[in-house]
């Protein structure tokens, strides 16, 4: 269903001065902060709980609940903003940081105020200098105007927001790896338990890690109330959400739509969104939530963009990344490319992931190159089973973090649906290999 829900987080995207303090203030900016200071921290936290705002980073955990996981009366607490957007297919946090940095900063302040965070660290992906620049400029202006820093707007609320940034590592999007990186270390995930960030995070203190899009929703929620937010969407998925639709579509783009009710068919085919498949070709498959998500097909098009519904159907909305593959797509090649990504990005800490993803890539590469063996498809599944026992959804894991099991998703999807394509590739290779000696024998016998 396509609705006329308001644009909550992209409302300023059409304004040329959306990233400036003047442009932000002229469109209601920092009013939520003023309101929050008059409400008190507990009331602010309650509004966010009422909104049932699901985290927009990938896991979809309710933000209000996450905030509540910090142990009582343990101080200091920190807020870490995850702006390390790098899940293949995902393109939204960069836009939010580049086009509306003050909205994010206001969200950070609201979260710090409600949770009681003494300091906030805004971690932006290293490869995004424009986002870093826009946030740096926005912070400088916001400090000068009294919105950030000591005694904010004359109140007893004081917090520094420090811009930090990475240096190229997908795994740092995982929250404990991000914390390691922020401590100046190699970005390798920590073992959970005991290192749940809400309990033992940055410098072993309670730390809330929230995604850029999640925090960007807070000013609207405080201004309009948690109930107004919860009135949008459906089931467990409330408010609106940004989805990037890429791949074989006529109008690739990033769209903010009502969460929970808009369907994949709306998003991929509606003229105001992606506008249908390129050349009006048939759909082969689509990835509903970033490279880690199992693929969906024609029969899933009428599912709403609703977290639990999509989870039950065997995949996830993840980071709001819909990648569309038309009928001309080579399933082996697409599968290989995604697996190769995980092999390259494995941090190497856990053996099943480090060795397993590398083997998965090697096997798929030889199939793609025409050196596949008849036993390779079973081998792919066997290696996958060693990384993620049973190859189920949601995945079980033999690793500390979900990166390894994510490499299994495209293999499970592609083999289940397009196994004949893989078999044909291997058969052709086998025939080619056996024809070589035959040709040589014939050539020699004829002298």
């Amino acid at each position: 269903m396509i609705t006329d829900a308001p644009r909550i987080i992209t409302s300023r995207f059409d304004n040329a001065d959306s990233f400036t303090l003047a442009g932000f203030e002229a469109t209601g900016g920092y009013q939520a902060l003023r309101k929050a200071l008059s409400m008190g921290p507990e009331a602010v936290a309650d509004e966010v709980k009422t909104a049932t705002l699901l985290g927009r980073g990938g896991a979809g955990f309710p933000a209000g609940v996450k905030w509540g996981l910090a142990p009582e009366n343990v101080w200091p607490r920190y807020l870490v903003v995850n702006g390390d957007e790098s899940e293949p297919g995902t393109y939204k946090d960069r836009l939010l940081m580049e086009r509306d940095p003050h909205q994010l900063i206001e969200g950070v302040l609201l979260a710090c105020y409600a949770i009681g965070c003494g300091q906030a660290f805004l971690y932006v992906r290293g490869e995004m200098p424009l986002a870093q620049e826009r946030i740096a400029a926005a912070l400088n202006d916001a400090y000068a105007a009294g919105y950030v820093g000591k005694n904010i707007l004359g109140s007893n609320f004081s917090v520094d927001v420090v811009l930090s940034w990475g240096a190229g590592a997908y795994i740092v999007g995982e929250e404990t790896a991000l914390i390691e990186s922020l401590e100046g270390n190699r970005g390798m995930p920590r073992l959970k338990p005991p290192y749940f960030p809400a309990a033992k995070g940055l410098y072993m203190q309670p730390t809330i890690v929230n995604n850029v899009e999640t925090l960007s929703n807070l000013p609207w929620i405080i201004t309009n109330g948690g109930e107004a937010f919860a009135a949008l969407g459906a089931e467990t998925s409330r408010g609106t959400r940004m989805f990037a639709v890429s791949g074989h579509v006529k109008n690739p783009g990033v769209f903010e739509v009502e969460y929970g009710v808009t369907t994949f068919r709306d998003l991929i085919y509606a003229p105001q969104y992606a506008g249908g498949i390129l050349g009006d070709r048939a759909l082969k498959a689509y990835i509903p939530g970033g490279a880690s998500a199992p693929w969906f097909f024609e029969e899933h098009l009428d599912l709403p963009l609703e977290k639990v519904t999509v989870d039950r159907a065997g995949s996830m909305l993840g980071s709001g990344a819909v990648v569309v593959m038309d009928e001309t797509t080579d399933a082996v090649k697409a599968c290989l490319r995604i697996v190769r990504f995980f092999a390259r990005e494995s941090c190497g800490k856990c053996t099943p992931c480090r060795e397993g993803t590398t083997w998965l890539e090697n096997i798929l590469q030889r199939i793609q190159d025409g050196y596949g063996r008849p036993s390779d498809l079973d081998l792919l599944l066997d290696v996958s089973d060693n990384i993620s026992p049973g190859i189920t959804w949601p995945p079980k894991q033999t690793t500390i973090c979900p990166l390894g099991p994510s490499a299994v998703s495209p293999i499970a999807s592609a083999l289940q649906r397009f196994r004949p394509e893989f078999e044909a590739r291997i058969t052709q290779a086998e025939e080619a290999r056996h024809s070589i000696p035959v040709t040589i024998t014939k050539a020699s016998s004829h002298g």
Binding site: G40, E42, E72, N73, W75, P76, Y78, S86, E87, P88, G89, T90, Y91, D93, Y113, G116, C117, G118, Q119, G126, E127, P129, L130, Q132, E133, A136, A137, N140, Y143, A144, G149, K150, S155, N156, F157, S158, D160, V162, S164, W165, G166, A167, G168, A169, S181, G184, R186, Y203, A244, S246, G247, V254, I287, A321, V323, V324, A334, I338, F341, C347
Partner: protein, 204 residues
């Protein structure tokens, strides 16, 4: 250049001062060194170790984990072409092949004039703008083969002053004015924040 310049040391001290633990400044300082020299030198890494109070081995340990840090000289322009799934579907691999031909190098190599280093990279968050690339992390969206050749010509001719040399990221830095600074909060600061304490019993 080797160690950080005096100006950069001053900047480094300011950055270190923003964090509860000096080592947290390591990655920002490595970027500073790479901005100064175009890549990371052993001397700069040792100097950074002195500034944050860790060994140069620890500095290298962190630096070597992250792809953006280059331990050897690279071209003035890093050309990073995305071939991940969204770009692959829209011609990213063909664009890479074209770039190899235009530049005469394979991914990981640098042109003999020292101008370009080519890399085949993972998703750079411009998926709806495929195929896409970055030159020193500045985006080029929906780029064609002709567009690529034009870009290379323009860079060679010095017509892209908007793209600084390799190592330079954000050209605006955060500066916290001392009179507005709330102050770093270290793990040793065990008191409840003032606004929480003042709000009373309800807030925990």
């Amino acid at each position: 250049m080797a160690r950080l310049s005096n100006d950069n040391v001053e900047l480094a001290r300011e950055i270190i001062g923003n964090y509860p633990r000096p080592k947290s400044a390591l990655i920002p300082l490595l970027h500073l060194a790479q901005e100064q020299d175009g890549h990371l030198t052993d001397e700069a890494m040792a100097h950074i170790g002195e500034l944050v109070g860790v060994s140069s081995a620890e500095v290298l340990g962190t630096a070597s984990f992250y792809e953006m840090f280059k331990m050897e000289t690279v071209g003035r322009y890093m050309v990073n072409i995305c071939t991940n799934i969204s770009c692959q579907l829209r011609g990213g691999e063909e664009l890479l092949a074209h770039a190899e031909k235009t530049l005469g190098i394979r991914p990981g190599q640098t042109t003999s004039d020292g101008l370009f280093t080519l890399e085949d990279v993972e998703c750079i968050a411009a998926c709806t703008e495929a195929p896409c690339l970055q030159v020193n992390y500045r985006y080029e969206h929906r780029i064609s083969n002709e567009g690529f050749d034009q870009l290379v010509d323009d860079l060679r001719a010095g017509r892209r002053s908007d793209i600084p040399s390799h190592g330079v990221l954000a050209e605006v830095r955060q500066h916290i004015p001392e009179d507005r600074r709330a102050g770093v909060v270290t793990p040793e600061d065990k008191a409840a924040p003032v606004w929480i304490a003042a709000a009373g019993e309800g807030v925990k």
